[in-house]
């Protein structure tokens, strides 16, 4: 073996020695979530160290369902996340298309306002949003309250604006020459071309809605209207509650997303990395 490839091997071993413990530490909370969700409560609160799954998961799901209607809350969360994702992808890609491909009065102002306010903390709009939705519109504890206000999110507009503006103009001009209407060009030429970007955007939006906590906690606090994270959150800190059940709920919230993440990792990472693209 040459000294050069020896040095390379040495570096490779060092690299894996550094990265493996860090990776194991990072996986540990997720692993323990799964382990806890399969243990009976008296096993979780016992002095021994348990690092392997047991077989109590279904009992824990039943315990959780006894503490709160979690399955119903999951139903609300899924419906809200799906509806929100479809609406938000549609709205933001239409707006992104307009900003990318047309010249119009006020365009500069619209772009400036979106960019100028994007780093403002969400906390700033929380109180007026709550007053408006709960008091003025009297929509607390409805699906509309969960779906519509978060549609303001402007990251998708900037993301789709960039996606559409990178497409060559000839693609659309050819259709225009043949007299195709603008909305048909958008729907049948531009959107299909933007499929990878739409997938990335949809995944990020779905995840944001699925995990959203603060707004649903404030606006839908009645038991029958709670989303799954809010329902689970109400149990944390109670004294007479099944912790195995809470962990089973955490697993039900997390594992589907982990599977989606593994299957669609490329889109996921594209969506997150795009946050950095100006």
């Amino acid at each position: 073996m040459t000294s050069r490839s020896q040095a390379k091997l040495g570096r490779s071993i060092l690299l894996h020695l550094a990265l493996t413990p860090l990776a194991l530490i990072w996986l540990f909370p997720l692993w323990m979530m799964v382990v806890f969700s399969t243990m009976p409560d008296n096993g979780i609160f016992s002095p021994g160290i348990e690092l392997l799954p047991h077989d109590n998961f279904l009992d824990n799901v039943a315990n959780l369902q006894r503490d709160t209607n979690f399955i119903g809350a999951i139903g609300i969360s899924v419906s809200v996340a799906v509806t929100y994702t479809i609406l938000s992808v549609l709205l933001t890609s239409m707006a992104g298309w307009a900003l990318a491909r047309y010249e119009f009065h006020g365009k500069g102002a619209v772009v400036a306002i979106i960019f100028g306010t994007i780093t403002l903390p969400y906390a700033v709009v929380l109180i007026p949003q709550f007053i408006m939705v709960a008091r003025d519109f009297a929509l607390a504890n409805t699906w509309i309250a969960l779906i519509v206000p978060p549609l303001f999110n402007s990251l998708g507009v900037l993301f789709m604006r960039q996606a559409f503006s990178m497409m060559p103009a000839e693609l659309f001009d050819a259709a225009r020459v043949e007299g195709v209407k603008e909305w048909r060009i958008f729907l049948f030429v531009a959107l299909p071309l933007a499929r990878p970007m739409l997938a990335a955007l949809a995944i990020i939006l779905f995840l944001a809605s699925w995990n959203n906590y603060l707004w649903p906690l404030l606006i839908n606090s009645q038991p029958g209207a709670m989303t799954a994270p809010v329902a689970l959150g109400t149990l944390i800190g109670l004294t007479k509650v099944s912790w195995g059940g809470i962990m089973a709920g955490a697993v039900m919230l997390t594992v589907p997303m982990l599977i989606v993440f593994v299957l669609l990792q490329r889109h996921f990472i594209a969506g997150i990395a795009a946050g950095a693209v100006k």
Partner: protein, 286 residues
């Protein structure tokens, strides 16, 4: 491109309506509400009512102090860790890359409530796995929830676990956009890898790192769920109270919208200041 006002606004209007109603108007509205006394009906204009109270409120200073303390410690630690993760994940020598990527990036999909529950259980005093593991190597158990310093550390550990991989994804994308030939020249000149990292990689990554830092600062500044659920409403005794919790308590427990809006605008002021620092740090040197 010719001007196409009608077509453009047909595409734009649905989004702009939502954006105006649920983002722009609330930004203006909460500014106005912060100058009103909101615990009397009808609300009345009283410019110093909330802001005057804020300046003299020990609870506000406690929340501000805790929030800034978390910012100053947690954000640099997390960004450094994210840089290490990204650089190591980017190495061509790495085997089983997918597994390592999964380990670091998986927390990105985990919801705040789910991971808060797990951390709470893992760190509990007598039966938490962390204390059991510490005990088994001879370290006395730590009471993570009744003492302020361990409680703050726990919040920082939890947030770092959740967000380091997220930042590593962004930094990794930045690393991959650095052209290879920059390093080839340096390697030919026998510049050591460590020096390459500090003199080539870090300077080229600066805009990305500053971007991550700004995102993280603005995110951590609004920290709410972790002290709400993990340390039980900012406990022990307000030791992990944050501006986000104070806003929640004032706005949605005491229904004191005016005061809560003043807290919200304090956060906005900090965010604006930090964004200006970012623009200054990443300006084009002329």
């Amino acid at each position: 491109m010719r001007t196409q006002n009608a077509t453009a606004y047909r595409f734009l209007t649905p989004y702009l309506l939502i954006f105006a109603i649920f983002w722009i108007w609330p930004i203006i509205s909460s500014f106005l509400i912060s100058f009103q006394a909101t615990r009397t009906v009808p609300w009345r204009f009283a410019p110093t009512f909330n802001w005057g109270r804020l300046i003299g409120d020990p609870a506000f200073y406690n929340a501000l102090k805790n929030t800034l303390l978390i910012l100053v410690i947690q954000v640099p630690v997390m960004i450094s860790l994210a840089i290490v993760m990204a650089v190591l994940l980017n190495s061509p020598l790495l085997k089983a890359r997918g597994l390592y990527r999964f380990a670091f990036f998986a927390p990105v999909v985990v919801g705040e409530v789910a991971y808060s529950a797990v951390f709470r259980l893992m760190f509990s005093l007598d039966f938490g796995i962390i204390n059991k593991l510490l005990n088994s190597v001879g370290i006395p158990k730590v009471d993570w929830f009744s003492n302020v310093t361990p409680a703050m550390a726990l919040i920082m550990i939890a947030v770092t676990w959740r967000w380091a991989g997220y930042n590593a994804i962004i930094i990794l994308a930045g690393l991959q956009s650095i052209p290879e030939d920059v390093y080839e020249a340096a390697t030919l000149d026998r510049v050591s890898r460590l020096r390459q990292f500090f003199h080539i990689t870090l300077p080229l990554l600066k805009p990305v790192i500053v971007f991550c830092a700004v995102l993280s600062i603005i995110g951590t500044m609004q920290l709410f769920t972790e002290p709400f659920l993990i340390t039980e409403r900012g406990g022990p005794g307000g030791g992990t109270e944050t501006l986000g919790l104070l806003l929640y308590r004032q706005g949605f427990r005491s229904l004191n919208f005016g005061y809560a809006s003043a807290v919200a605008y304090t956060m906005a002021g900090l965010a604006i200041a930090i964004t200006l620092v970012q623009l200054w740090l990443t300006r084009d040197p002329k």
